[in-house]
Amino acid sequence: MKPADLILLVDDDLVDVMTVKRAFRELNGTNPLHITGNGEEALSFLNNTNQTLPKLILVDLNMPRMNGIELIQYIKNDQRLCSIPIVVLTTSQEPQDIRKSYNLSVAGYIVKSIKFTDFVSALKTVYEYWLLCEYI
């Protein structure tokens, strides 16, 4: 991923979206961030062929209409989308959610910390890691 590549954030919680945006500002991340509020919105964005595809997807699990797991399932079954790395950003520490996510080959599973500074440092690690990674 390069500093100009698009990142897709799928999260329904306004404050959580603000948190990610703020954290990105603190990291001096320049990547454009596209935000969708649930799985269905994310899919219609990803399925729009006029749109460049994101190089990284950050997804919350618990969302209305189509939840994170359903969205990941769909993406991983789609030839065009399945190679985009997905990192789960969620509140859930439930072993079953973690297992389900890794069974669907997510690239990471990060629990949103209640402390903003902890959240920023987690996001920093994720972001810097993907800046290092080669992509297709």
Binding site: Q93, I114, K115, F116
Partner: protein
């Protein structure tokens, strides 16, 4: 049941047997039976799901087919009513098979009299009803358990998400509006931040507590010595803290995570409430007959006897929340784990004399073969 009629279906290819059975049931004094008769496998299948029948009698020999085949087929098709197998000759093997396939009883024709047949049918109906009731209760229990599991999950996500929002907004108010706040305003925001973090700890505690007994139930042979070493390491204790194991510790057959949680919570409890500059923790085990009795003793301030029960209750702490990080979940988790192994836990203490937490775990009677050696 006085007055009510029990409809019974007999499946037998021999009409004479039908007449004999009919006459036997006619003589029944306690019950009013109405016996219907079909003589082929096919007819039996067609009639067997008729809800009017309270019970079925199948002859073992049905032309080309056996009564056992019919039994299997009928049960597979969803027949919930009791089925009794009748046979000309006594055969323990058929008896065993019939019971395994779900027959309620197995009667030898030449031994049947009115009394035996009546009793067999009535008992079969009763047993079947009891089984149904049991299955119903089991289903109910399963549903309630599932609801409880879901509840813990909903608590985790649905309460944590808005709470994290409050915490973030508080942090941002502090960092973005520092200049426009006076000391009192800053203090309030700091308290607000503290309270939200505490609530988050409590919610995590509920989750952790509810998770005991839900995941990773598999047991293995464990060396408590090793588990204590790992627990001590993970607690990141100060160098002045001294943890000693005083006796040999027996191997345990239990779930690793659970036993780790027990020692980790007890040791961390002994350290965090300790008021000495050199906290000392002694761990050991004595033989208490049918069970092992472990102890974790500290040189801390001790606990008044009136709190001996209370400290094991969920969310009960002996210090004000603002002066400690303890949520009151640790000992509740330990108690839940020990009790899940049919053990007991208690505390012995006097003010100023330190506290000793004791728990028992039943000795392993039979170690599963794959764990020997």
């Amino acid at each position: 049941m006085e007055g009510s009629i029990y409809h019974i279906l007999l499946v037998d290819d021999d009409e004479d047997d039908y007449i004999v059975t009919r006459d036997l049931l006619k003589d029944a004094e306690r019950t009013n039976f109405q016996l219907d008769w079909v003589n082929t496998y096919e007819l039996a299948l067609a009639t067997s799901l008729n809800p009017k029948y309270a019970a079925y009698l199948f002859d073992y020999r049905l032309g080309r087919n056996s009564g056992l085949e019919l039994l299997q087929e009928v049960i597979q098709r969803g027949c919930q009513k009791p089925i009794i197998l009748l046979t000309g000759l006594g055969d323990d093997e058929i008896d065993r098979q019939a019971m395994k396939m779900g027959a309620e009883d197995y009667l030898i024709k030449c031994q049947i009299d009115t009394h035996l047949l009546e009793r067999s049918i009535l008992h079969a109906i009763e047993r079947k009803q009891a089984k149904e009731k049991q299955a119903e209760l089991f289903e109910e229990l399963k549903t309630v358990n599932q609801e409880l599991t879901n509840f813990a999950y909903i608590v985790s996500h649905d309460l944590k998400a808005p709470l994290r929002g409050i915490a973030s907004l508080t942090d941002w108010l502090i960092s973005d509006y520092t200049d426009s706040l006076d000391e009192s305003g800053k203090q309030m925001l700091n308290l607000l931040g503290q309270r939200t973090r505490r609530m988050s700890d409590l919610i995590n505690g509920i989750l952790e507590y509810s998770r005991v007994g839900r995941f990773n139930q598999n047991s293995i042979m464990l060396d408590p010595q090793q588990i204590i070493a790992i627990s001590v390491k993970s607690l990141d204790l100060t160098t002045s803290t001294c943890v000693t194991i005083e006796t040999d510790l027996p191997k345990l057959f239990a779930n690793r995570t659970k036993i780790e949680q027990v020692f980790q919570n007890l040791i961390s409890n002994a350290v965090s409430h300790n008021d000495k500059t050199e906290p000392k923790i002694r761990i050991g085990c004595i033989d208490a007959g049918k069970s092992w009795q472990f102890y974790v003793a500290d040189n801390g301030p001790g606990i008044e006897s009136r709190y001996f029960e209370k400290i094991f209750q969920i969310f009960q702490t002996l210090v004000a929340p603002d002066s400690s990080n303890s949520t009151g979940i640790g000992l509740a988790i330990v108690k839940k784990i020990i009790e899940s192994y049919n053990g007991k836990i208690w505390v012995e203490s006097e003010i100023g004399q330190g506290a000793t937490f004791c728990f028992t775990l039943p000795k392993i009677e039979v170690i599963p073969e794959e764990f020997i050696g």
